[in-house]
């Protein structure tokens, strides 16, 4: 499957759903499921066909679009985005699967979900930064509408409003940064490959870099939930329907990080050096502050939202380290966390649907009545604490190794924050939710049936596969990471053991 076919599939699905009359609910769902399944299989085939060890772009496709303004349509994958594309399409399939409970205006829901999927894939696949931004916006708007219409909880209008304003402002500030990049580079294009070659010859002046980087960091940082621009995230995810929370926390949030990796690191190296320490401090804000906030949450979604922000702290730390190991680690975490966030929000959504509440104090002993969902939740929580065997472990470890040289204190803090605080709230959640006496008897439905297990099994399988075999990802990432990282002295190791060796 070519990249453009991969990108067009969800949009074609959305068009197909649009053409089916409103009262054929089953057909809408069927089309959405088939479309996302095809997309996921296509992404797997692209991932398998991708040649590890090559740093440049593969499967490139190009078309002129607005030559007068210097914009073109350019798709391609390298190590940095190949894993993200695979993750995005798997999460999209899972998100479609868990949407069985949507009864209000299902047609519009599936159209929006498919547009969101296409937008997310487009953002990761586009090498022209204009289209990257374009597709990101295209995916964000359905997020807001889905939250407003199918959201849950009393707080949902406020949360929708907050997330809309935060993310739009963040995106626009980021766009200003990209527009400045366009004008300051003088390359008359936003095509990443062309820009990279151009700026290798004529790097941006220090003044320009110091102008562009803060805009990118604040703008795209807000999209990821960088401390202190994170307050939209937890309430937003608590109010969003499961599929939206999965897609946003898992996939769309990573677009901001992806832009920072692609643009901020290679194009503003001097400014990045200058801003590395402040960025690392803010990353600690994510790991420690958001982790601490998560400690106090008694609502399952707020807990997951804050823990997801804490994980983003590791990504920012790796970004601040800016070396090959750090960058490889960031991409590993992005993929792993995407799968994990989707799994946890999907399971939490299922739990809430079945029990009617997401208040941890009202739940308990669920492992007995919901053995599958409970078991999967235990695994998700353990993956979130960084237990080896899940994909998050190699990612976080790699970041910590990468950051050791520049920020030893922060690494110690992050290790404590990530492992200790994370361990405490995750284990406590497991204890309160799954063990102990069954409370209230508020269970209305049973465990997930065989069909409903599919999305969770897919995500868990991917988490375990990349956890046990991280080399399949890092072999693909490392050569490309070398092209964008600032510190290139350490050759890219493929395995964690080699990473440990190199860091000493």
């Amino acid at each position: 499957m070519s990249l453009s076919q991969l990108l067009l599939t969800p949009f074609a699905g959305a068009l197909l759903v649009l053409l089916v009359p409103g009262n054929y609910r089953v057909v809408h769902r069927f089309i959405a499921l088939v479309t996302t399944a095809i997309t996921a299989l296509g992404a797997v085939s692209v991932f398998a066909a991708f040649q590890p060890g090559i740093a440049g772009m593969q499967f490139e496709e190009q078309a002129a679009w607005v030559p007068a303004a210097g914009f073109g349509f350019h798709l391609g994958v390298d190590g940095v985005n190949i894993g993200l594309v695979l993750m995005a399409s798997l999460v999209a399939f899972a998100a479609t699967c868990v949407s069985w409970d949507i009864e209000k205006q299902p047609k519009l829901f599936y159209i929006l979900l498919l547009v969101m999927t296409g937008g997310a894939l487009g953002a990761f696949l586009s090498l022209d930064l204009f289209f990257l931004y374009f597709f990101n916006e295209l995916a964000l708007v359905p997020t807001f509408i889905m939250m407003g219409v199918w959201g849950r909880g009393e707080n949902r209008n406020y949360a929708t409003f907050q997330i809309t304003l935060y993310l739009t402002l963040g995106a626009l500030i980021g766009l200003s940064g990209l527009a400045l990049l366009y004008s300051q580079s003088g390359a008359n294009t936003l095509d990443w490959v062309t820009l990279k070659a151009w700026l290798a010859e004529k790097p941006l002046s220090g003044h320009s870099q110091n102008l562009i980087l803060p805009l990118l960091l604040v703008g795209f940082g807000t999209l990821v939930g960088l401390f202190p621009f994170h307050s939209w995230a937890a309430p937003g995810y608590a109010a969003a329907p499961s599929a939206t929370a999965m897609m946003h926390a898992g996939v769309l949030k990573k677009v901001g990080l992806y832009v920072l990796l692609r643009v901020a690191l290679p194009f503003c190296p001097a400014a990045m050096n200058h801003w590395a320490t402040p960025l690392a401090v803010l990353a600690m804000g994510n790991v420690l502050y958001c982790g601490w906030v998560a400690l106090r949450q008694r609502d399952l979604f707020l807990l997951l939202g804050n823990s997801s922000l804490a994980h983003m702290g590791f990504c920012f730390l790796g970004l601040a380290a800016a070396n090959v190991i750090g960058v490889t680690g960031v991409v590993l975490i992005m993929v792993a966390h995407g799968l994990l966030a989707a799994l946890s929000f999907g399971l939490a959504g299922h739990l809430t649907k079945v029990t009617g509440t997401s208040d941890i104090d009202k739940l308990g002993g669920l492992l007995k009545t919901l053995p599958f969902v409970g078991g999967a939740l235990v695994m998700a929580f353990l993956a979130g604490c960084g237990v080896p065997g899940f994909a998050n472990f190699p990612g976080e470890l790699t970041v910590l190794f990468g950051a050791w040289k520049s920020f030893p204190i922060f690494v110690i803090l992050a290790a404590w924050g990530g492992l200790l605080i994370g361990g405490v709230y995750m284990l406590r959640a497991i204890r309160d939710l799954l063990h102990g006496p069954l409370r209230d008897g508020s269970i209305q439905g049973g465990d997930a049936g065989p069909w409903r297990r599919v999305p969770f099994l897919v995500l868990l399988a991917a988490l375990l596969y990349f956890g046990i075999n991280p080399g399949s990802l890092s072999d693909r990432i490392a050569p490309s990471a070398e092209r964008i990282a600032l510190v290139k002295s350490i050759s890219a190791p493929a395995t964690v053991a080699a990473t440990a060796h190199a860091a000493h």
Partner: protein, 499 residues
């Protein structure tokens, strides 16, 4: 003299006169035919104007009247706006008293706009503007049994007269100091004229007059009242044709007549632009009347366009022209829906739009597309236009802090605008109270006008290349390149400004 240069103006005038005369012989029951005829005529002229019929570049009346890429670019959009508005009148013809005259006035205002696009002289500019303004006095107060319409008409009359007075005074001072009113001749002597305070005062007063026309702060106060009070189709034409004509003249004066002075005043234009867009966005927040909301939104949009002008560069002018092209389609789609709903419900409060998603999917689609495009969301026309504008401003943001501040202010304005635009969408699809859900029948002509506008919004948003190319040619013909380059060197702007 080569009269073929004026062929469009002559033909549209003839069309207007024909409509007026035909009314004498056509029975009242068949007056819809007049609307169809006028719209068909406008459509034929539109295809003629953008097709092979466009006259070659040249000047007439001793250089007063010019035909170039810019004039042809604008004329296409003026005829398009007239076509869509005339189509929209057809299904509402029963509610308009004096229908033939209404159509004819729309056509006469169009003639004024066509002349404005070609005006290359302060005198012709004034005449063209008066032709537009005077016909709009009548069009705004056309619904003469409704006090709101009359009130709007009086306000527009007083404000318009005031603006004209400023402009005439300014033109007199310009003529007094320069000895000519021709743009090219003034451009040739602008180095000396730039030192003459009388000339500068005259120019400033002329710009005040144009500022009224495009509703820029601090000359914006008429817009919300007039937009709200006027019949909706008049508002539609006011928001598209009249505003675009104002910008056509503003660009010609700024970049053809006095490019060097404009370059010196670029910060002033920038500040006015920022104030205009923030004022429009902030005041739109509490509005309940959708027409009034569109009035404030039109002020905010004038602000964005002024930012593009303040960039004083080819990319800035290209962005302004591209944005205007998309804006015209966007606003027409929105007003088509507002016209149908408000003439039916007798009100344009946001609550009468409640449940529109179920009452009439095509109307709901039209208003949604319009509002989403105005909010600058892909893949609509508004997104690409805003992107180009931001890019043009960003070109200078590296060297001038003013532009960086303007860039961030524009971002804030866009975010604010999301709030009020989405209020309209929420009311359409997810109303708070259960509204009247009787389906609304939409006539064929309205349907055609809506489809035309919606397709335009998507076409420009997804395949903007042809529009951008046209806008770039128009902007390139307008700006004396050497003068702009001179500014760039003077203000130490980056060379990238000309890309």
């Amino acid at each position: 003299m080569n009269y073929s240069l004026l062929s469009l103006e002559i033909l549209v005038t003839l069309l207007g006169v024909t409509v007026l005369l035909a009314d004498l012989w056509i029975p009242a029951s068949a007056r819809k035919l007049l609307g169809y005829a006028a719209a068909t005529g406008a459509g034929v002229l539109l295809t003629y104007a953008i097709g092979s019929g466009a006259p070659a570049d040249g000047t007439a009346f001793g250089g007063m009247f010019v035909v170039d890429a810019l004039s042809n670019y604008f004329k296409g959009f003026f005829l398009l706006a007239a076509l869509v508005v005339l189509l929209l009148t057809v299904d509402l013809s029963d509610t308009i008293k004096g229908y033939a005259e209404y159509c004819a006035l729309i056509l006469f205002a169009t003639v004024g706009m066509l002349f404005a696009a070609s005006a290359n002289d302060f005198v012709l500019m004034f005449v063209a503007l008066e032709l537009i303004t005077v016909t709009f006095f009548v069009l705004v107060s056309y619904d003469r049994t409704r006090s709101g319409s009359l009130e709007a008409g009086v306000k527009y009359l007083i404000m318009g007269a005031l603006a004209s007075a400023f402009m005439v005074f300014g033109i007199a001072l310009i003529f007094g100091s320069a000895g000519t009113t021709n743009f090219y001749e003034i451009a040739a002597h602008q180095a000396e004229l730039g030192k003459s305070p009388v000339f500068l005062i005259g120019l400033a007063l002329t710009l005040v007059g144009l500022g009224f026309k495009v509703a820029a702060v601090p000359f914006q106060m008429w817009a919300p009242d007039v937009y709200q009070g006027a019949p909706p189709l008049t508002t539609a034409f006011l928001a598209t044709g009249s505003k675009a004509a104002g910008f056509a003249l503003l660009m010609r004066v700024a970049f053809s007549a006095v490019p060097e002075i404009t370059a010196h005043w670029s910060r002033l234009i920038l500040v006015i632009g920022v104030l205009t867009l923030l004022y429009g966005s902030l005041c739109a927040i509490p509005q309940r009347s959708v027409k009034r909301l569109m009035g404030y939104s039109s002020i905010a949009n004038a602000g964005y366009l002024l930012l593009g002008m303040a960039a004083v560069s080819l990319s800035g002018s290209t962005a302004v022209l591209t944005y205007l092209g998309g804006y015209i389609f966007t606003v027409l789609a929105g007003f088509a829906v507002i016209a149908v709903i408000s003439s039916r419900a007798g009100s344009d409060d946001v609550s009468v739009f409640a449940g529109l998603g179920q009452r009439s999917p095509i109307l709901a689609t039209g208003l949604t597309v319009s509002v989403v495009s105005l909010a600058g969301i892909p893949p609509m026309a508004g997104f690409f236009g805003k992107f180009l504008l931001l890019k043009a401003v960003a070109n200078h943001a590296g060297t001038e802090r003013f532009f960086l501040v303007a860039l961030l202010a524009a971002c804030v304005g866009v975010v604010i605008s999301l709030y009020y635009y989405f209020n309209v969408i929420r009311s359409m699809f997810w109303p708070k109270s259960v509204p009247d859900l009787t389906p609304i029948a939409v006539g064929g002509a309205t349907r055609l006008a809506l489809v035309l506008s919606i397709v335009g919004v998507f076409y420009i948003g997804i395949l903007p290349n042809s529009l951008v190319t046209g806008a770039r040619q128009a902007a390139a013909g307008l700006a004396p390149q050497s003068a702009v380059a001179g500014h760039a060197a003077a203000a130490s702007a980056p060379a990238a400004a000309h890309h």
